[in-house]
Symmetry: C2
Subunit: 337 residues, 2 copies
DNA sequence: GGCCACTTTGGAAGCGCTTTCGTCAAAAAT
DNA sequence: ATTTTTGACGAAAGCGCTTCCAAAGTGGCC
């Protein structure tokens, strides 16, 4: 009963043009007169037309689809990353297929799957952990690969300078009296999928403190999973080590939030006795008054998508690297109430 | 340079048959003589042929793809669920597209997307949280929907009887001396995406204890996120409430593991002073000696896939419900070392 | 005014399959 | 032995698009 979806022919008929012209409008081909394009677009709107992607694919010999391989970890992070990627792809009339890698086995299976051969014109691989699992030689199929939130000299990469973030954290916190502490993020996933961001951030922090000539003993680092509880346990641990004030660099916003909660429970005044700085720049940090290192995640995603599209279009140059910088956002949690 | 992939024509030529016959072999059509089928299969193997899915789709007018909408939570759970689903789909020569819903917004967007209209012949929606977000009237497109790990009278459902699991836990733990405790799982995600499994399990537990005439005050329930730390904090909390032995029903294996770790730190003997029962039946519970309520997750996934395939094939009956039961697996954590 | 070089357009060919239709031979029924 | 039914299969007709090619239109320039 459901009436068939309109095809390119109906649109062509209604707009009084040939099917070739309709197709050209669909693909943003330059040689269509503006007024013709208008007519065609109007006809498409009238009919509620949208192209059948499968037909496009078989005719065009391409999939018009890009896939994203991602570990399943921080949802908020990926939410934002996807925003950026999709913004670009939509413009390009491309679709996105997600491949959440829940285990190394799945990555293997994905790489070998027929999906790759047909479904995808290019592949985005996110996270250093997954990137390091990529085969050394060359990718199984000839599809271009771009790394996002990861770096390798062998592939185009769009990555975050976590080390710089650590240094900025150090510069900021070093100005306050009291001892310095850090919570290092340890990824929860499988060994093989583990990320290196936690380590990088701490290394940068250490580097910055050295430059500022501030003491930072090894035991002042608390290793924690990505969880609220981790932040609470960290503050408890720090309190056994030293007296206030505490200046804490948390490897992630969620950890910093845990610190805030625990500080309240312990009756410590945030911004004076406990200063804490997060990492990520999630929207909710604003309302919580949490200082943080904001990451331009969407921009990073968008740039990765652009790099991939240029490869799909045939770009052949050597691997390109795009570095993104976190920026310090100061809020009450590190400047008093 | 990459030589073109072989097509159905080459296979037909090599096997000395018509292209129609090759297609029939591909689709398990009954009217092909076994020896002919052999010849065709041999030819496909020789050429390394695999059909172009896009061409199938445009010619067949179907997508040969099913999509799974899932919240991103417990990785291990979904890992196993996917095993079951894919086992069935592979047999059916179907593919699976994943739609991890990272936020309610994304669900909305997905339901409205063109993807649904073309990419998918049917939809699996997992988790009660997502299921309850489905539109009340009817699904946007006419595609069949099957719920997995969720129940609704309006859709075919394959679901786990979590309440039964709770009752089994109660029966088992009630036989031991000492007080009874429970850790209730609270999902971490957005309010809207939250699951009800934690609540169901505890309700069943409560029910079972009532039947066994065992006391179970409200404060004996510790509410926790899905994390190792949650289990540790829970045991600390219970220790403030009562003396050993503790008989603990943890709403998830990971929480139970946290209890085990904390018990060791506190010097409590597992199996005598602390008895703990998990939920899920993950592979690693065996090596940890953890008693658990094993869920037939793969079977549930497979059954959901079957329900969906039958709908895709045109089955029109009223919604069907398939209930799956967790089974008690007793290990040292609840029977002494 | 006439010629050339673009620009714009219509339509046919083809992408690799599924499916329908008709044929032919073998099996079953008369 | 003849007719009818059935089963196996080849060939052709699409599926809805992209793209190529040739034709028509447009303007600039001498």
């Amino acid at each position: 009963m459901a009436k068939r979806k309109p095809t390119i022919h109906e649109v062509a008929h209604l707009a009084q043009v040939g099917i070739g012209t309709v197709s050209r409008v669909l693909n943003n081909h330059p040689s269509v007169r503006p007024e013709t394009r208008e007519r065609v677009l109007a006809a498409m709107a009238r009919l509620g037309y949208s192209p059948n992607p499968h037909a496009r694919r078989v005719a065009g010999g391409r999939s018009y689809t890009v896939s994203l391989v991602l570990p399943v970890v921080s949802t908020e992070f990926y939410n934002r990353l996807l925003e950026g990627i999709e913004a670009v792809l939509t413009e390009e009339r491309y679709e996105l297929a997600l491949f959440p890698i829940l285990s190394p086995i799945r990555l293997q299976r994905y790489l070998e799957s027929r999906s790759l051969a047909y479904q995808t014109d290019g592949i985005l691989v996110s996270s250093q952990g997954l990137a390091s699992l990529l085969p050394d030689q060359r990718f199984p199929t000839e599809r271009p690969v771009v790394l996002v939130d990861a770096y390798s000299p062998r592939y185009d990469s769009a990555y975050m300078d976590n080390r710089l973030g650590g240094r900025l954290a150090a510069e900021h916190l070093a100005q306050f009296p009291g001892s310095l502490f850090a919570i290092q993020l340890r990824e929860e996933l499988d060994e093989v999928l583990k990320n290196t961001v936690g380590q990088e951030r701490i290394e940068g922090f250490r580097e910055g403190l050295r430059k500022a000539r501030r003491a930072f003993p090894g035991k002042h680092v608390f290793l924690s999973r990505f969880s609220l509880e981790g932040g609470r346990l960290a503050l408890q641990y720090f309190m056994r080590l030293a007296k206030p004030p505490y200046n804490i660099f948390a490897g992630a916003d969620l950890l910093a939030l845990g610190v805030l909660e625990e500080a309240e429970r312990q009756g410590l005044e945030v911004g004076r006795e406990v200063r804490v700085l997060g990492f990520d720049g999630h929207p909710w940090t604003a309302e919580k008054g949490l200082s943080t290192l904001a990451q331009p995640i969407e921009e990073m995603g968008a740039e990765a998508a652009r790099l991939l599209m240029s490869r799909i279009r045939g770009f052949k140059g050597p691997p390109r690297a795009r570095r993104f910088e976190p920026t310090l956002v100061v809020r009450p949690s590190t400047q008093g109430p």
